[in-house]
Symmetry: C2
């Protein structure tokens, strides 16, 4: 597949100068897809990020629809052809520069929306270090349940409250049971947390009753984005048995604007294997291509900007770093195959959350629940502030990038959300 | 509200003769909404059931759109006006008979689809007798968890596999852990079950961050339908901890074609109250109108038609009877308010499942898990067959109706689905 993927040569440069800055998330090697509008009230249109610009795909004559759903449904072959055309047109010296230049807008001048209308949203739980750390808080002797190493654990989440990056949301109110009381109270969450995840966007779907085999599973994946699955830990503790998290999660989540395609991630593949002593997956989740190149080496970061920092013009502090490949117990392909082994139907625009992608070390945790040992060990910020859980006015920013010798670094942009005070009760 | 609701007079008759048959589910007092097509390939159109006919709402000049989403978004006032116009036009002696007659099609000539495009689907767990019976199989001493009587327990389900009534689906394959093994195997579910539920369709939504108070909650509900939440108990037992059911549920569910409006259900309201000794709900879930008239007295039935019965031309056997008002621990209004207390956004076309509506007695159970004591006590059918769980070729039919002195009986139609063999592995 790699051989046929256009635009991966690290020497390739674009006539969009800003794209050639080594620190830029969106060089010609990336070309992620998202949706933008120029004015409030305008319908969202498909765009491709290049440097500090966005290509209006329809205006550029590269795709005849403004509907992302149409693009999601294209075959891998059609998507490859579109990538080829974008690389041809955007590369330094391209004769199509004139045409494309007219379809280019400054990113700073547009408003980015959700990457697509999200259909069904599934949240997985593939971060084994997260699952272990959280499990330890409940069951010190047996943090991982017996199914964890066999079943890619997942559950359905709420699509209607997935927000575009930049949106603020109100601290949720809900039932909490104080430890010293037999009865719950209704109050604003006091243990509001973030969760560092990747969002996996489904491209082509499958028919109900027709499982997707592991070998072709990635053909159904359009791309990855950053995802913050905000969580109210106090609501969660009281409500989640026996059917799982509900109001503790569905008040808001945030996704970054750009779907980074698997084509762009091609140079950052890694072998996937089970460590010695770990059980091998059941045969439907095991395959040669998955072992050889099923993992993606995506570097992840969490930044916190408190209201005090924002007032001081400070962009925030990095509070955690992690890696998708190190954190995830299962690959993207395995998630697709597991999700459909029972005949479940996926459709273009469905999104999977990866689950919280904590690394193995304490400072690589993807949530405050872990970073502060359940609120017992406050996080000390360089400006003297401390945090156990999120406070009103806090902004959490997730970032991701891929980097290795012999490849051009690409980035995901950012996934940003701000906590507003709870509504008055 | 009752005083202003047109068409509830039990003496009212329609010029559609079949609607006046006392056994008919769709008299002029009902007027449920659904979607139909005349031919494969045609877009679904909004229809209203009357006797054995369907009114094409747009063709009748009663609503200017074919899109159910537009109808769902109307205000209760607009919906009342539409109901008024339908009653005026369809009642015996109406001068508009000529116009409406041209917009009438035999139900037998059309194909019914899903009542609407379903957005987010939430499954609740309000059947306290079901929760108790299922809980007993896991925890004989404490069948109900401590949160059950405080939190209307719910979780998100899969919208993409909700099928229209009549559709068959394949038995799901999934991971099952045999009791005598330490490791799971992949196989077709051997404990496939139905779940008798009502579907609650959301009409007008709310903005994210804006909870819906109990007093106005029913204004956001468009109507009720029958819902079968097919469940693979063996998959469920292995996968569901700690985040809830996933592949054990999302392979298929089935909804009946007609949304019976709260206006039509008005005569069948019942007071809602907590039994002596039961905790009162927290204040956000308690209110005078909810206590006085929050419950709906809907009679429910489950029928099973085996392949052998179908071959013999036998329509099936009733295997359970239950009642929404007796089974449900929470009201529809309480579910809407609880779902949004954290700011979660509901939208027209979202659907809630009620949870399995088992009555208090063993033969009122809404699932085979309960009817057969977890498969230990097979159900004996009159033709000599037995069932622990569902077999290939079995058809399950759910039915519902409302009946009381002084009101015209109304019905919900039926919710029908058939089990096909699992795909070859």
């Amino acid at each position: 597949m790699s051989a046929g993927t256009p635009g991966l040569d690290p020497a390739l440069r674009s006539w969009v100068d800003s794209a050639n800055d080594p620190a830029c998330d969106f060089p010609i090697q990336n070309l992620p897809f998202g949706r933008f509008r120029r004015d409030e009230g305008e319908e969202l249109r498909i765009g491709v990020a290049i440097g500090d610009r966005v290509v209006d795909l329809e205006a550029a004559g590269l795709f005849p629809h403004q509907q992302m759903k149409q693009l999601l449904r294209t075959s891998p072959f059609e998507r490859r052809a579109l990538r080829h055309a974008l690389v041809e047109g955007l590369q330094h010296g391209s004769p199509q520069r004139g045409t494309l230049e007219r379809a280019l807008l400054p990113l700073a001048s547009v408003q980015m929306g959700l990457p697509c209308d999200i259909g069904d949203y599934t949240d997985f739980y593939v971060g084994i270090h997260h699952a272990t750390a959280v499990g330890k808080q409940f069951r010190p002797d047996a943090p991982l349940l017996p199914n964890y190493k066999w079943v890619p654990i997942g559950y359905h989440g709420r699509a209607s409250t997935i927000n575009a990056s930049g949106a603020a949301f109100r601290r949720p109110v809900g039932q909490v049971k104080p430890p010293d009381s037999d009865t719950p109270v209704l109050r604003a969450s006091a243990r509001l947390d973030f969760e560092l995840e990747l969002g996996i966007f489904i491209g082509r779907g499958n028919a109900q009753g027709e499982p997707i085999a592991l070998d072709g599973a990635e053909d159904h994946v359009f791309g990855l984005a950053l995802f913050n699955d905000w969580s109210a830990r106090d609501l969660q503790a009281w409500e989640y048995q026996p059917l799982g998290p509900f109001l503790s999660k569905n008040f808001a989540s945030t996704v970054s604007p750009w779907m980074v395609t698997l084509d762009a991630l091609e140079p950052f593949r890694r072998p996937w294997q089970r460590a010695a002593g770990e059980p091998l997956p059941l045969p439907y989740l095991d395959g040669e291509a998955n072992r050889a190149r099923g993992a993606f080496d995506v570097h992840l970061e969490v930044w916190l900007q408190t209201a005090q920092m924002a007032a001081a013009g400070h962009a925030g502090e990095r509070i955690s770093r992690s890696s998708f490949a190190d954190a995830a117990y299962w690959t993207v392909a395995q998630l697709v195959t597991h999700h459909t082994v029972n005949g479940c139907r996926l459709e273009g625009g469905d999104m999977f959350g990866s689950g919280t992608l904590s690394g193995p070390l304490p400072d690589q945790a993807g949530s405050l629940l872990e970073l502060t040992a359940g609120g017992k060990a406050p996080l000390r910020l360089p400006n003297g502030e401390t945090r156990t859980f999120l406070e009103d006015g806090d902004t959490v920013i997730l970032r991701a990038s891929c980097e290795r010798e012999g490849a051009r670094r690409i980035g995901f942009g950012e996934c940003r959300g701000t906590v507003l005070p709870a509504p008055k009760m």
